[in-house]
Subunit: 389 residues, 2 copies
Amino acid sequence: MKGFKFAGIHAGIKKKDQKDLGLIYCKNPAVAAALFTRNKVIAAPVILGKKKIKKGLCQAVLVNSGNANCFTGDKGIKDAIACSKMVATSLGIPEDFVLVSSTGVIGQNLPMDKFKVGVPDIVIHLSADHADDFADAILTTDTHNKIVKKSGTIDDKKFSIMGIAKGSGMIRPDMATMLAFICTDINISAKDLKVCLSAASEKSFNRITIDGDTSTNDTLLALANGMSGVKINDTDSKKNFQDMLDKVCIELAKMVVKDGEGATKLIQIIVKGAQSKQDAFKVSETIAHSNLVKTAIYGEDPNWGRITAAAGRSGAHVVPEKMDLFFDDQPLILKGKWIGDEAEKKTAQIMKNKEITITLDLNIGKETDFFLFCDFSVDYVKINAEYRS
Amino acid sequence: MKGFKFAGIHAGIKKKDQKDLGLIYCKNPAVAAALFTRNKVIAAPVILGKKKIKKGLCQAVLVNSGNANCFTGDKGIKDAIACSKMVATSLGIPEDFVLVSSTGVIGQNLPMDKFKVGVPDIVIHLSADHADDFADAILTTDTHNKIVKKSGTIDDKKFSIMGIAKGSGMIRPDMATMLAFICTDINISAKDLKVCLSAASEKSFNRITIDGDTSTNDTLLALANGMSGVKINDTDSKKNFQDMLDKVCIELAKMVVKDGEGATKLIQIIVKGAQSKQDAFKVSETIAHSNLVKTAIYGEDPNWGRITAAAGRSGAHVVPEKMDLFFDDQPLILKGKWIGDEAEKKTAQIMKNKEITITLDLNIGKETDFFLFCDFSVDYVKINAEYRS
C-alpha cells in the first residue's frame, strides 16, 4: 500500500530472542482515529495516546511487546514521552505525530536503554515489505501473527486496507482487541474515520471474548493517508469503505479468537428473537463468557443445559418453554424440549468441528445479536498460571 | 438435635454406586424459610418450592442428586409433585408439608421408577444419627460432605443449629449455594426466620464464587422446630440466634469454596476505602470472578497487575495512584507503586499457602466489602469438560 512502511526487530525488551519492537511510518501525516480500553486502570501509552489522537493526525506508531508500561506512574508517562521523542528525532518528524503503544507484563518500567539503541536501529529497517516483521514484533502469547489485506474500488479507483492485530488473553467486549492497527490509503476526514472505526468495532472487536478480562492497554488505531486518491465524499463511498473496513476487522477479530490462549475451537453464538437489542446482547455475552459453556465445548459436549442456564442468569427476559437451540443447522431443543437421542448424536458430531455456530432463538421478540468466542482448555489455565514465571 | 431425623441411600438415580437420595424429617411441622436461585431458568422443584414455602411450614425434605429435574417442562412439575406425594404417603403427613429438591444433570426426566422404590425405602432408614448419610446423598462433584453444627444459649437455655450443604461448580452470588439445609430447634416465627436467613446469606453464600455461573436449582432452606424451648422474642435473642446462624452459614460457604471444582486454594478478597458499598461490592466481585486472577493464584503468582486491572474494569470509581494492595499483612503496592523485590519475594512465599487474604484499599472512601473464591486449576477444566461423558 502506498506511503506506509513497517519494521519489526528484537530490541531486547523480551528476554527470549523474539521480535519485540515494531514501527509503522507514513510518508505524510495520516488522518488518524482510535478507540482505547474502557478499563479505568490504563497504561501510560494509552493516557498519552488519548491526548494525542485528538489532533486527528499521526505519522508514526511505535509498538513494543514484553512490557505494558502500565501501573508505572509518572515514570511511565515520562518513558512513553521519551520513546515518542526518540522516534520523532530518528525520523525527523514532529513528536505530536508519534503514537506509542505497549503490551506485556504490568508494573515494570520500560527498559529505556533498549529503546535508546532500538529506536534508531528500527528506523533503518523500515520497508513497505516488512509488515510481517511488525506483526511479529507486537505479539505476546499469540501463536502466530495476524494480518488481513483487502482492496476495493470506488468510482473505478482502487483503495486498500491492511489490518494487523495481536490478541490472545485478557480480551472482552469492553474494548475487545488488545492491539490492532489499520492502515488505509483512502482519503477520509478524521471525524468520518472515527465513525467508521466505531461501527466496524461494534461488529468485530466488541463482539469477541476469550477470558472475560479487559486489558489496560487495548488500542484500535486507524491511519488513512489518502494516497490512493480515492475520496470518501458521499453516502455510497462511505458505505463502500465501511463494508471493507468491517470485513478487515471481523476477519482480524476471528483470528484473535481462534488464537485465544489455549483455544481449540471458534464458536459463534447467535441469539435471535429477543425482546430488545440489549437483551439479545446480554444473553449472547453471558453465554460467551460462561466458563461452564466454554469447558463443555472444549469437551466437545453439546451441553445445552449450561447454555440455557447461562441465558437464564443473563438478566434478559427469557421464557424457557419458548427456546429453540441449534448447533449449526441441527436443532437440539425446540420450544424448550430436548428432541431426542438422534439429535443429540448429530450435535455431538458437530461439536467435533473446529468452527461451530450455536443459535439460540428466544422466540419472544425480533431482536438479534451475536458473540464470537473460544473454548476453555486445560492449556488456557497452564498458560495463565505460568505467565510471569 | 431434638426432633429431626435424616437418611441417605443409593436409589439408583446415579449410575455409580453412590448415595443419591436424601430425606430430612421433622417430628412436627417446622417453621420454614427459603431463598432460591435468581436464574430465570429454574428447575421444577424450585418452581414448586417457591409456592409451597409461602405457607411457612415444612415437615419433610426429599433431595436427590444425579438429576436436576430442570428443563423438563410440565412432566418435570408432575414428577416433582409425584415425589412429594410419595413422601407424604410414606410418612403419613400432608403433602403440603413436603418440599423436594434436585441437583445434577439438566434436561432429563426424573427416573420415577427409582423413586417409587426409593422413597418407601428411605423412610425406613430415618434416624437422628444419619445426618452424614443425608449429607453424602446430596453431593454431585463435591469431594466430601459438608456439615456444620453449633450450639448457643439464650437465657441459659441451649439451642442448636445444624447446616448441611453441597456445592462445587456453578456457584456465584446471584444465589450462591447450590443446596444448603439448615435445621434448628429454636422457636422462631417464619417471618423472623426469613429475615435472619437472608442476612446470613448476604455474609456467606452471596459472597462466594467458584466459576461465575448460577445454578437453576440453588436452594437455601431453613427449618426451625422449636423443640429446644428457646424462643426468639426480643432484639437480644434475635441477635444471638443471628450470630450463630451467620457462623454456620459462613463456615458452610467456606467449605463449599474450598471444595470448588479443582480448587487448590481459598482466597478472601477484601476491598476497603471505596466511595460506596456498591463500588466495594463491584470491585471485590470482579476480582473474585477474574479468570486471569484465578489462574495466577493457581500458579502461586502474586500477579497484582491482574488484580488492579480487574478493579479497573469493575465499573467502580478507582484511582490507580491511590491503591494499596496487601497479601495477608504484606504490602506489595502502596499508593499505586510496586514497593520492590523484597516485598515481591515475601508475597510469593505467602502465595504458597492454602488460605490467603488479599486486601485492596482503594483509599478514596470508607466503604468495604469482600468475596470468598477459589483458584482456577487445570482440574477445573478437566472436570467440566468431561461432566456429561
